[in-house]
């Protein structure tokens, strides 16, 4: 029962992550989506599996995978953002329809 609840939470966050990857135009907003929403989906699916298989030795292995992912996914996001910033992608894009729609509507 609890594992089904965590699986439903993971569905919502998976769908939001894919929509956000197509909705945003700047790369830094996409990195935000990848860093936060995908981590929540990973966390909830592994918690669902832990509640489903009970207390065994494999539970420890699942928690090791979760700990490894929680350490390395922010590192990957930080490396990608730093690499894009050093190589000259601007922080604020001029032609950005996802954040400029209010100015277009007023004018």
């Amino acid at each position: 029962m609890i594992s089904n609840f965590f699986l439903i939470i993971s569905w919502v966050f998976l769908i939001f992550g894919v929509i956000g990857l197509f909705r945003f135009q700047s790369i830094y907003l996409k990195i935000l989506v990848a860093a936060k929403i995908d981590t929540v989906a990973f966390f909830s699916i592994i918690l669902a599996l832990v509640f489903r298989i009970g207390l065994q030795w494999e539970t420890l292995k699942l928690l090791v995978i979760l700990l490894f992912f929680l350490i390395t996914n922010p590192l990957n996001s930080q490396f990608i953002g730093r690499s894009a910033l050093i190589n000259g992608i601007p922080l604020k894009a001029k032609e950005n329809p996802s954040t400029d729609y209010r100015a277009e509507k007023e004018s």
């Binding site: 089904n4 998976l14 769908i15 197509f22 489903r52 490894f68 990957n76 990608i80 690499s83 992608i89």
Partner: protein, 85 residues
């Protein structure tokens, strides 16, 4: 429930693969690669639970290590200037 989660993960991998192929800059492609590697680990875990075969957990741990090394090394290579240096 687990079957629908596997279906949703496969759909997400397919949609992100479109983003991986048709992206303008290389950093968006690496970002899509990062997402695909994370979802592949989840897919291996769910398939291992569905078939009651816990050896899939070791394969998932190996996949997570390989994905982390791939993204880190490619971004460090691009941070130095890439092939144009």
């Amino acid at each position: 429930m687990i079957d629908f989660t596997i279906f949703l993960l496969l759909l997400a991998i397919g949609v992100i693969s479109i983003k991986f192929i048709f992206s303008p800059t290389i950093w968006e492609r690496i970002l899509a690669l990062n997402l695909i590697s994370g979802k592949t680990v989840l897919l291996l875990l769910l398939i291992g639970l569905q078939r009651d075969n816990f050896f899939f957990l070791d394969i998932a741990l190996t996949f997570s290590i390989v994905g982390f090394l791939a993204v880190t090394l490619i971004t460090r290579f691009l941070m130095e200037g890439g092939r144009q240096k």
